[in-house]
């Protein structure tokens, strides 16, 4: 299967690979996995007091599309509020990366990772 140029670019030059301290109250961690392919994705967001995502890091073990989806998401969420980030849809990710139908689940995984991270942040910082 041929990957799109954007997928290859993110795969070869992944943005924001790394880890943050998951015990830091300002760091939100989202862990998700896809049983279909065994991919595992970790997305971490550093969130300011006023709910703005200042930084994002990811670590993904999976195929090129899963790596590209998480890499793209770290670029997209930076500077957004958690509400805005929570509205990112997998369809937008799939469209941007021109993912073929069999790889749509990679974009779903990335969307779910954002949601899981936001949930983690809310449980750490109850309003």
């Amino acid at each position: 299967m041929a990957y799109s140029e954007k997928v290859i670019d993110h795969y070869e030059n992944p943005r924001n690979v790394g880890s943050m301290d998951k015990d830091d109250p300002q760091v939100a961690t989202g862990m998700v996995g896809a049983p279909a392919c065994g991919d595992v994705m970790k997305l971490q967001l550093r969130i300011s007091e006023d709910g703005i995502i200042e930084d994002a890091k990811f670590k993904t073990y999976g195929c090129g599309s899963a790596i590209a989806s998480s890499s793209l998401v770290t670029e997209w969420v930076k500077g957004k509020s958690i509400e805005e980030a929570g509205k990112i849809k997998n369809t937008a990710i799939a469209e941007e990366l021109a993912l073929p139908p069999v790889k749509i689940h990679c974009s779903i995984l990335a969307e779910d990772a954002i949601k899981a991270a936001i949930e983690d942040y809310r449980s750490k910082n109850p309003q």
């Binding site: 996995g33 279909a36 595992v40």
Partner: protein, 175 residues
């Protein structure tokens, strides 16, 4: 008729794999399309269909993971689609650790020992999960089936790790 009935077995997770292979071979001989090479088009088509069915049944029941999945389907357990993300945090953290362990193997001073260690760790964890699922499947209550389903999804991550380990071994030792 389900696959167990087709192959003359009780619908149980623990099965006699020798008997399964024997029945499969007998059935496959009886319906093999070559036997109908001189038959009508209809007979040939029917033979191909039967042969495919027998083969699907055998491949499903032979493989413990596929067998477990098939049994849960027969029991009408509500299985989440494979596309639904899995979000058991501590399990996924462990998966990350295992992936990292696998990635470190090629930088180890003693690569052989590192491969052996990863292999043993993966096998032990797989085995433990597998046994738990086996007990739950044998229990066959609604609650136990739901738990078996959860463990089946976890086992798929270990299957993937195993594939990755095989790839790594090919890379390291296949000159």
């Amino acid at each position: 008729m389900n696959y167990f009935q087709l192959l003359g077995l009780d619908s149980q997770f623990n099965l006699d794999t020798k008997a399964l292979a024997q029945t499969y071979q007998n059935l496959q001989r009886a319906v093999h399309p070559d036997r109908f090479a001189h038959g009508t088009e209809q007979e040939k088509l029917l033979a191909v269909k039967k042969s495919t069915l027998v083969n699907d049944a055998y491949q499903t029941l032979k493989n413990p993971i596929k067998r477990a999945e098939y049994m849960l389907v027969l029991r009408n357990v509500d299985m989440p689609s494979e596309q639904v993300s899995f979000s058991d945090n501590s399990f996924l953290m462990r998966q990350m650790e295992l992936r990292e362990m696998l990635a470190e193997v090629k930088h180890a001073d003693d690569v052989d020992a590192a491969v052996l260690e990863v292999t043993q760790v993966l096998e032990a964890e797989f085995e433990q999960l597998f046994k738990t699922m086996q007990t739950q499947l044998n229990e066959n209550t609604e609650a136990a089936n739901a738990l078996a389903c959860e463990n089946l999804r976890k086992l798929k991550f270990y299957q993937k790790l195993h594939v990755e380990l095989d790839k790594l071994e090919d890379l390291l030792f296949d000159d």
